[in-house]
């Protein structure tokens, strides 16, 4: 087997050095009735070529997003990733290192995480960010639990504009961790009265911006209302690129930002691995979940980086930790850091503008189709349309014509018939004029 360096003579020599006759002697502590004598009913070892054939055959049965016009977003966005990103993250020194517990020989990982934390703080307009969590949905649940700890309250109000997967993750955590969630109904056209719901036990209000239906809102007048009632404002961002164009949550008074960072540097990957971003205020840092990298000096007084404030974490604090998280999304954070370093201020702003331009052009075309209504007032690169008939079969019909037209809201909200005719459509810089023509034409045809 090509990954195993020991030869049979090596094994014999090693057994002799140990002083046993056979490998079985080393498994003597395993109860007899639990020992497998033979091989399990699974295929035998395969060469690289055979594995590549078998797995490539599975890949080829999927419709790759890049092979067709794609208008699907909903918390995962297809953007262009410069070749440099994937090249650099595959350097073995990044790819095959562990969590940086030994700082003297992990300065590479620690320094890029410090740069990552800075980038995330700048982008969200917050003071401090951690070194990543699993994804946006888990970051959202962690944000609610952090708000519960900070306020010593136990009820979170979730806007109906929150991504339904994020809401569902919060509901699962709520049931088992022991807090309440008041989730509002999805409202593509807005009109929620969140302020009126805040009570004495409300730890936080969770809003998403742009919301799940693509609508951009200003929360700067809502934040003080939360604060006056002793609650925190958690702002979720599922399309982090939007912050290259719109006012960041930090400027709107957010206390915690939980976001999905996949859009920068990371592929769609059928939903994972993605990249949880988590940012907050300096005064709350000791209640933050996840790893934090801090600046310090070494024995010679030279600047360096270490994992810090570890007394929040499970490996030190055990049952009193702020979170049970250990492994996070380090390599996805590296991809984000490299891509954003390449973009810089100029590139990020221009890329965001390209996305908005594509979405505006698409909206202008689609809202002219008879019976189609745009539900948004303001949007970034994604918006909701009301079609004159149920969306799911329309999307299926378009997929058969080779156009991935968007997300039927009914897939995420099967129990809400009122939303069955709502379609969520995204357009990034990857969308061409031909793609827009194609969707316009095919959608007209399917609807006619």
């Amino acid at each position: 087997m090509r990954y195993l360096p020991l030869t049979d003579p090596d094994r014999q020599e090693m057994l002799a050095a140990i002083g046993v006759d056979s490998i079985d002697a080393l498994f003597a502590d395993v109860p007899h009735q639990a020992r497998l004598d033979g091989l399990l009913d699974l295929p035998r070892t395969m060469g690289e070529l055979e594995v590549e054939r078998a797995i490539s055959a599975m890949a080829s049965r999927n419709l790759a997003a890049g092979s067709v016009p794609l208008f699907i977003g909903g918390g995962a966005y297809r953007h262009h990733i410069p070749a440099t990103v994937d090249h650099l993250i595959q350097r073995g020194e990044f790819l095959t290192s562990y969590t940086p517990y030994q700082p003297e020989i992990s300065q590479g990982t620690l320094q890029y995480l410090f740069e990552f934390q800075t980038q995330v703080a700048l982008l969200t307009g917050m003071e401090v960010a951690n070194a990543s969590l699993y994804d946006g949905a888990t970051a959202c649940a962690e944000a609610v639990m952090m708000a519960n700890r900070l306020t010593r309250r136990g009820q979170a109000i979730l806007s109906g504009g929150l991504h339904p997967h994020y809401r569902e993750a919060c509901e699962t955590y709520a049931r088992f961790v022991g807090f309440e969630v008041a989730a509002q109904a999805p409202a593509p056209s807005g009109g929620e009265d969140l302020a009126g719901l805040i009570g004495r036990d409300t730890s936080c209000v969770v809003v998403q911006n742009p919301d799940f239906f693509g609508e951009i809102r200003d929360y700067s007048e809502f934040a003080p209302i939360c604060h006056e009632a002793g609650a925190l404002l958690v702002v979720v961002v599922t399309e982090i690129l939007s912050l290259g164009a719109i006012r960041p949550p930090g400027e709107m008074g957010a206390d915690i930002v939980a976001a999905e960072g996949q859009s920068i540097g990371n592929a769609l990957n059928f939903g994972g691995p993605h990249l949880g971003l988590f940012a907050s205020r300096d005064k709350f840092v000791r209640q933050m979940p996840g790893r934090l990298v801090g600046e310090t000096v070494d024995a010679d007084g030279r600047r360096g980086w270490v994992l810090t404030l570890s007394t929040r974490e499970q490996h030190i604090r055990r049952e009193r930790a702020t979170s049970n998280i250990c492994t996070n999304s380090g390599l996805c954070a590296l991809a984000f850091t490299i891509h954003l370093a390449l973009l810089g201020e100029t590139g990020l702003v221009r890329l965001a503008r390209l996305n908005h331009a594509a979405a505006v052009r698409l909206a202008e075309r689609l809202e002219r189709i008879p019976g189609v209504q745009l539900l948004n007032q303001a949007f970034f690169n994604e918006f909701a349309l009301r079609l004159p008939r149920p969306v799911a079969p329309v999307v299926e019909a378009l997929a058969e014509k080779g156009v991935l037209a968007g997300i039927p809201i009914s897939r995420l909200y099967p129990d809400r018939p009122a939303l069955a005719d709502v379609l969520l459509v995204a357009a990034t810089e990857m969308v061409t004029e031909e793609d827009i023509d194609r969707l316009d034409r095919e959608l007209r045809e399917v609807l006619s």
């Binding site: 087997m1 360096p5 094994r11 140990i18 502590d29 109860p31 639990a34 020992r35 009913d41 070892t45 490539s56 599975m58 890949a59 999927n62 997003a65 890049g66 794609l70 440099t84 073995g92 790819l95 095959t96 290192s97 562990y98 969590t99 003297e104 020989i105 992990s106 980038q119 700048l122 699993y134 946006g136 888990t138 569902e168 993750a169 699962t172 022991g178 200003d218 290259g244 719109i246 592929a267 990957n269 059928f270 939903g271 000096v297 070494d298 490996h315 604090r317 250990c326 492994t327 996070n328 380090g330 390599l331 590296l334 370093a341 810089g344 201020e345 590139g347 908005h356 991935l404 099967p414």
Partner: protein
């Protein structure tokens, strides 16, 4: 032919033997590298995009005002920066990485290549299910391998890493208890457990009741039996445990746990020791997470992403989190909501469908090995750890008797009266070009040194490692304490002041002027 040996001397004259102070602070290939924020210039950009044609923005007047503060760098600057950073990292690609309980084994590049196929990497999670049969087939095949290897009837695939898998497992246990109408309050956790175990159970509202070990490094069965009762929800046991030992009374432990009506959770971080040789189901385990980034070799990436599928007994399977891949009449389906067979699911733990990129890598790894190769993995891992154990016995102090599994635990008695601590010893190993073993964990012995070589080291590599450890032990015992206290000296940075870092945390870069304001 040129005789270079005449031209090049490797030994400097005596007056040049002292450490060289360089103008740059660089030391040959070790190059000092500032932050990207210190290198950028406004207006420079490493990506070329044309501006869009003129259009009317529809941002509702919420345009960002003012600069974000991101630095501008060109592509060559970015490539050089991150390449230099990479050279400051130790990695399994560069050497033995004996971190106990972390299973730092070789990461095959085939797996990277396959995970990047557009048919996996460039597939949107919310594409119509009819366009992703291959993705569902891959998930289903991975599940089949994991179920066969564990002997368990179901596997929940969505958890994002090991600790997330633990959360998933404890949640399903609580859901099963609630379905029985029971509210139990305690979870038993051995003192040698990973910190994530008590943190997870506490997060789910349980009181942690620690179980001491016996002198043989295993769970004390008698104490465990006394602690079990009708208010105990689960035992969370790591097997092999973090002392590197197989819990030889595990069948009795399982029987006792089940007799008390509790569930038996196993932390599968150490599955590498038994894969293909022992099925956890045959040990009476009800629930076990698997770290795909340990046993199944998906790269650890400097701290993730991981993937933590959870194998479940039939009694827990109905509560597995969404989504499920289910066998429909003529094709695989994705069950994303609580309807019909998924009615009792605990709900969603994460966005979308799990760590697909990790699933591809892990399946490629398992198929490459096959049933025979995976069994060999466990055998070689255990053989290598026992070989180190035998070679180092008498130099380092073994904590427990008997053969070990895939990792071997020493404590710091061998350093007694040397003035050298476990930390000093580990840092001296860094100067020798090795990543240290896991230190000060598990907490059940003093000054622990936990060594896990894995199956992907050659005998020559193991021999060299033992020779280095023996030499260091001899140095420590001969009174050369200074070498250890000053270590490491040959690394990009020497020991870092962690206390100062925690006392006044600097968690991001700020421009010099802003920095002063923040301090005030």
């Amino acid at each position: 032919m040129t005789d270079w040996s005449r031209a090049v001397s490797t030994r400097p004259p005596a007056d040049l033997a002292a450490p060289l102070e360089t103008v740059t602070g660089n030391r040959g290939l070790q190059i000092e590298e500032g932050l990207i924020f210190e290198q950028g210039s406004p207006g420079r950009c490493g990506v070329d995009f044309a501006d869009p044609p003129p259009f009317e923005a529809r941002l509702g007047g919420l345009e960002r005002q003012g600069a974000i503060g991101l630095p501008g760098l060109s592509e060559p600057q970015v490539v050089r920066h991150f390449t230099r950073l990479s050279q400051k990292n130790y990695a399994i690609d560069t050497g033995l990485y004996p971190l106990g309980s972390c299973t730092m084994k070789h990461n095959p590049r085939l797996n990277e290549k396959l995970a990047r196929l557009p048919g996996f990497a460039d597939v949107h999670p919310l594409q119509p299910v009819s366009t992703v049969p291959g993705a569902l087939a891959l998930i289903d095949t991975l599940a089949h391998w994991l179920k066969t290897l564990t002997g368990m009837p179901a596997v929940a695939l969505s958890p994002g890493a090991g600790a997330h898998g633990e959360l998933c497992g404890i949640m399903t246990i609580r859901a099963a208890l609630e379905a029985r109408g029971e509210r139990r309050s305690r979870v038993l956790v051995p003192e040698s457990a990973h910190g994530t175990n008590p943190a997870t159970a506490a997060a789910c509202g349980y009181t942690i009741d620690p179980v001491p070990g016996n002198p043989r490094g295993r769970v004390d069965l008698e104490v465990l039996q006394r602690k079990l009762g009708s208010d105990v929800a689960a035992l969370m046991l790591t097997n092999p445990n973090t002392c590197g030992l197989f819990e030889n009374e595990i069948l009795d432990i399982a029987a006792a746990v089940h007799a008390a009506g509790a569930f038996f959770y196993c932390d599968g971080a150490n599955f590498n020791a038994i894969v293909g040789r022992v099925r956890p189901a045959d040990l009476g385990i009800d629930c076990m997470h698997l770290n795909l980034h340990k046993t199944f070799s998906t790269p650890h990436g400097g701290g993730g992403p991981g993937s933590g599928p959870v194998a479940l007994a039939a009694s827990l399977a109905p509560y597995a989190p969404l989504p499920w891949v289910v066998h429909g009449e003529d094709r695989l389906e994705l069950a994303e909501h609580k309807v019909g067979p998924t009615e009792q699911a605990i709900g969603r733990l994460k966005g979308f469908h799990g760590q697909m990129g990790m699933f591809v890598r892990a399946l490629a790894y398992m198929m490459s090995h096959g049933a025979d190769g995976l069994r060999q993995v466990a055998e070689d891992a255990v053989l290598s750890a026992n070989y180190l154990r035998a070679r180092l016995d008498g130099d380092l102090s073994l904590s427990f008797a008997g053969p070990c599994m895939h990792e071997v635990l020493f404590d710091d008695r061998f350093l007694k009266d040397t003035g050298v601590t476990t930390l000093d010893f580990a840092k001296a190993l860094v100067d020798e070009g090795y990543h240290p073993m896991t230190m000060y964990f598990p907490l059940v012995v003093h000054g622990a040194l936990l060594i896990e070589p894995t199956e992907t080291e050659s005998k020559a590599s193991l021999d060299q490692f033992t020779a280095v450890l023996k030499a260091l032990v001899a140095a420590a015992r001969s009174g050369d304490g200074a070498r250890f206290h000053a270590a490491p000296r040959l690394t990009p940075r020497r020991r870092l002041d962690e206390t100062a870092a925690a006392r006044q945390p600097i968690l991001r870069w700020r421009p010099e002027s802003a920095h002063l304001q923040a301090v005030e």
